[in-house]
């Protein structure tokens, strides 16, 4: 009897593991519990990606629900979601880009060619779709750090008072939108 139970122990452990794997598959492991969730957007003042003279602050974003999408042309998944994000924009979703530059590393003494980046971004958006109302350039990554961004793409859902409702890691696709963003936005509507 004892030996029989011992023989079945691996099976029991495996079944338990499978339950977790199944939950993990649908429980959205990419969702991070950011310290920022439920808090307001950190204060910032950063230039526009396309126009250095134009500067954006957290106050400019208030008044309307929006998505803050962290992206870069170097990130294949970001490019892949541009098409769907553009569809969302056409449906009236306000999307603001936070451009995340990977190649530039201030600690390494890199020099940065903003004109090259602008051309690159314009070409990419022309090709893959442009979902953005505008893009914020965060070269020093201060805002990204404050938000707890760990890579790209990541997307924040922010309500009209500047409160962060959702933090999603990974791409936005129809499934993620239906299961996660749409219900959250529904709740925000009076």
């Amino acid at each position: 009897m004892n030996k029989k139970f011992l023989g079945l122990a691996p099976l029991l452990i495996f079944v338990l593991l499978c339950v977790f794997l199944y939950q993990g598959l649908f429980g959205n492991p990419r969702e991070l519990q950011t310290g920022r969730l439920g808090q307001t957007m950190p204060a910032f003042e950063l230039p526009d990606l396309m126009d250095e003279q134009k500067r954006w602050t957290d106050q400019d974003l208030l008044g309307e629900v929006y998505l803050l999408n962290v992206w870069g042309t170097w990130c294949p998944t970001c490019i892949a979601e541009l098409g769907y994000l553009t569809e969302l924009r056409e449906q009236g979703v306000r999307i603001i880009g936070l451009y995340y530059e990977q190649a530039y590393d201030p600690d390494f003494g890199d020099q940065f060619d903003i004109n090259y980046l602008r051309t690159d971004v314009q070409q990419m958006l022309a090709r893959a779709g442009d979902p953005y109302q505008f893009n914020i350039l965060d070269l020093e990554r201060t805002l990204a750090l404050d938000l707890g961004v760990s890579g790209a793409p990541e997307t924040f859902l922010v309500d009209k008072n500047g409160k962060i409702i959702l933090h999603h890691t990974g791409d936005i696709n129809p499934r993620v939108w239906r299961s996660k963003f749409a219900p959250a936005i529904q709740e925000l509507q009076p």
Binding site: K3, G7, L8, P10, L11, Y22, L25, Q33, T77
Partner: protein, 651 residues
């Protein structure tokens, strides 16, 4: 039309696989020899069809057929032909087809090489392999076909192969790794067949052993080349990251290593049978689990693969069916297994048993480290992150007793040993280890930390103990030549494998402790010094490749005023994806690598550069190659060939 032929060929192959799964297993169950005899031809038939289908994929890639989604997404017309071929396994769908090719080839090989097996066992082994084939083919045909069309609107140019993958490493790394993964399905099938037959005697272990060794050899080589590729291509000078995808390949390797040792005891002494069967099931299960982790997107990894929960669900279901089914079978049968061998505390049996415990604990650490962040979150305990320091620390603790044992265990005999003479021998080796380690380290480095000393000593200990044992085993024979001849290939495999591990330990220790790097900004003609080497920047040239442009920095290296080498580091911009890639320049040497990465232009002809000096880093891959050779030479063992003839008589 041609892509459809490839798809259809795969459909036919799945038909044969289905028959391969049903006929022989049914035949073995009912004792119908005619049904059992269909197995080999079905196995070879499905293999030919899968190979044909793969040939079709290569053909449509070479002919730039961008109506096929897979080709449009992973290749381009400007890609050199060999990278076009590589692109057939550069994406998810093609990689799964490559897996099928390996699976079908191993199955056909088993069918052809198992003529001397009793029919019942042969039919069951092939039947189980057929079942696995059905699972993977169903997955390919249903949700991951590389032959899907993009009609009527198709691009005129493909999206190109990810520049990261345009490297010789990519040509050989995935096929080798898959050879290893899939090869472990053979050990798995032997284990299941033995459980089904109910005869867990040592013949099963004998048959399974060479196949397991070969699969393990490929897995070792695959991991080694993966590590070298990361080092040479990624431009960060590292070789292992404890990424979930890397861990996915390490776990089956650790368990397969335990399995090899445990198979040896089961074969020679008839003990630990049920444990060995469990390891065989676990090794392949971890391959499937690894596939699930990599392909489902369940865990965030730097290796971004297609993340699709439907695919993940299929693999999870298949995993649950295969592993759950075999563990249930194991649970039902294992209580009937009895071990007849007896042994004392100081014996080779116990040595190998402890080895197995270490390897399994190491596997559990990797498994927990990989899955715990997810499980923790599912339990509602919040996010945790388990990173490189966790794994490094755990492995540093484990490696100490493990390496000490690795030096001692080969000297143990089966059943029983007298301790005093052994203890005397070990004391001698210990003294020699201290002397050699001290001489080596104090002559090479200025500062030596306790940990570095200890870890290096472990490597030296393994080497000396292995050599002492070798000399002793040879010297019991009248002449050296005769003695060397009498040592079996399995023994040589052990020597190579253990020395290989020693090389890896030494390399990891020394390169971690003594690697230095420096970031510099230089103009043409300026110099920088790092560890006795002087680097003179010769300037930057424009370069143009078949599908990329960019810059190449040239640096001449001098040591004590004498010319050493000219380093040529590139920064490439790939045309299609507009992606930057760093091609580091490496001057490799037995004792050190000089590694150079080109940074950005700083204006006025000045460039930023990163220089690394990495002592003994090459020993890591040298060790890996030694270990994999250990896996392959067992195939040349006379025992396995001779036994085939004798078992024909028994059959």
């Amino acid at each position: 039309m041609i892509p459809e032929i490839g798809y259809f060929s795969l459909v036919l192959a799945m038909g044969l696989s289905l028959l391969l799964c049903i006929f022989p297993l049914w035949g073995a169950y009912t004792g119908n020899l005619r049904l059992m005899r269909t197995a080999p031809s079905l196995a070879v038939g499905q293999c030919l069809l899968v190979l044909f289908s793969f040939g079709v994929l290569i053909y449509i890639t070479l002919t730039d057929d961008f109506t096929v989604a897979y080709v449009a997404h992973h290749s381009s017309s400007t890609l050199p032909w060999y990278y076009k071929v590589t692109s057939t396994w550069g994406g998810h769908e093609g990689a799964i087809l490559l897996w099928l090719v390996m699976q079908a080839s191993w199955t056909a090989l088993v069918a052809m090489m198992s003529k001397s097996l009793p029919w019942v066992l042969r039919a069951r082994v092939l039947g189980v392999l057929g079942f696995l084939g059905v699972g993977f083919m169903l997955y390919t045909l249903w949700m991951s076909s590389p032959f899907e069309r993009l009609l009527p609107y198709y691009p005129v140019e493909g999206r190109d192969l990810n520049p990261l993958l345009q490297d010789p490493g990519m040509i050989i790394h995935p096929p080798l790794l898959y050879m290893g993964y899939v090869g472990l399905s053979v050990s798995f099938s032997f284990a299941i067949a033995a459980l089904l037959t109910g005869k867990l005697d040592n013949t099963w272990a004998k048959w399974s052993r060479p196949w397991t060794m070969a699969a393990w050899g490929f897995l070792t080589l695959g991991i080694t080349i993966g590590s070298w590729w990361a080092y040479a291509e990624l431009g960060w000078g590292g070789w292992w990251f404890w990424d979930p995808v890397e861990n996915a390949s390490l776990m089956p390797w650790l368990v397969a290593t335990a399995l090899l040792h445990s198979l040896a005891i089961t074969e020679k002494r008839g003990v630990f049978k049920s444990w060995t069967v469990l390891l065989a099931i676990a090794a392949f299960s971890l391959c499937l689990l690894g596939t699930f982790i990599v392909r489902s997107g369940i865990i965030v990894s730097v290796h971004a693969f297609a993340t699709d929960p439907d695919r993940g669900l299929f693999i999870l279901s298949f995993l649950a069916l295969v592993v759950g089914g075999s563990l249930a079978l194991y649970g039902l049968r294992v209580s009937q297994v009895y071990s007849e061998g007896r042994y004392k505390l100081v014996s080779r049996e116990v040595g190998l048993w402890v080895n197995n415990i270490f390897l399994v604990v190491a596997t559990l650490i990797v498994l927990l480290g990989t899955l715990l962040p997810m499980i923790h979150k599912e339990l509602g305990l919040g996010s945790i992150s388990i990173g490189v320091p966790f794994f490094n620390q755990m492995f540093a603790i484990l490696i100490v007793p493990f390496a000490i044992l690795m030096g001692m265990a080969p000297m143990l005999r089966w059943k029983q040993n007298k301790l005093p003479p052994l203890a005397k021998k070990w004391a001698g080796i210990f003294v020699a280890t201290i002397v050699i380690t001290s001489a080596w380290l104090f002559s090479s480095f200025d500062e030596i930390s306790t940990l570095t000393y200890l870890a290096t000593a472990l490597a030296v200990w393994i080497c000396i103990a292995t050599v002492v044992d070798l000399v002793e085993k040879v010297s019991v024979h009248p002449s050296t030549a005769q003695g060397l001849k009498r040592l079996g290939m399995s023994y040589w495999a052990m020597v190579l494998g253990h020395v290989g591990i020693a090389f890896v330990i030494a390399s990891v220790t020394l390169t971690s402790a003594y690697s230095v790097e420096r970031s510099v900004v230089m103009k043409k003609g300026e110099t920088a010094t790092l560890n006795d080497y002087e680097y003179r920047f010769e300037g930057v040239n424009e370069i143009r490749g078949p599908n990329y442009g960019g810059h190449a920095g040239e640096v001449t290296v001098f040591k004590d005023g004498e010319y050493v080498t000219l380093l040529h580091a590139e920064k490439r911009l790939y045309d299609v994806g507009m992606q930057f890639m760093t091609e580091a320049a490496i001057d490799d040497g037995f004792f050190r690598d000089l590694y150079l990465a080109l940074g950005e232009s700083m204006g006025n002809g000045a460039w930023s550069l990163r220089i690394y000096h990495k002592p003994y880093v090459r020993w890591m891959w040298l060790g890996g190659i030694l270990i994999s050779v250990a896996g392959f030479i067992v195939l040349a063992d006379k025992r396995y060939r001779r036994r085939k003839q004798t078992s024909v008589e028994h059959a």
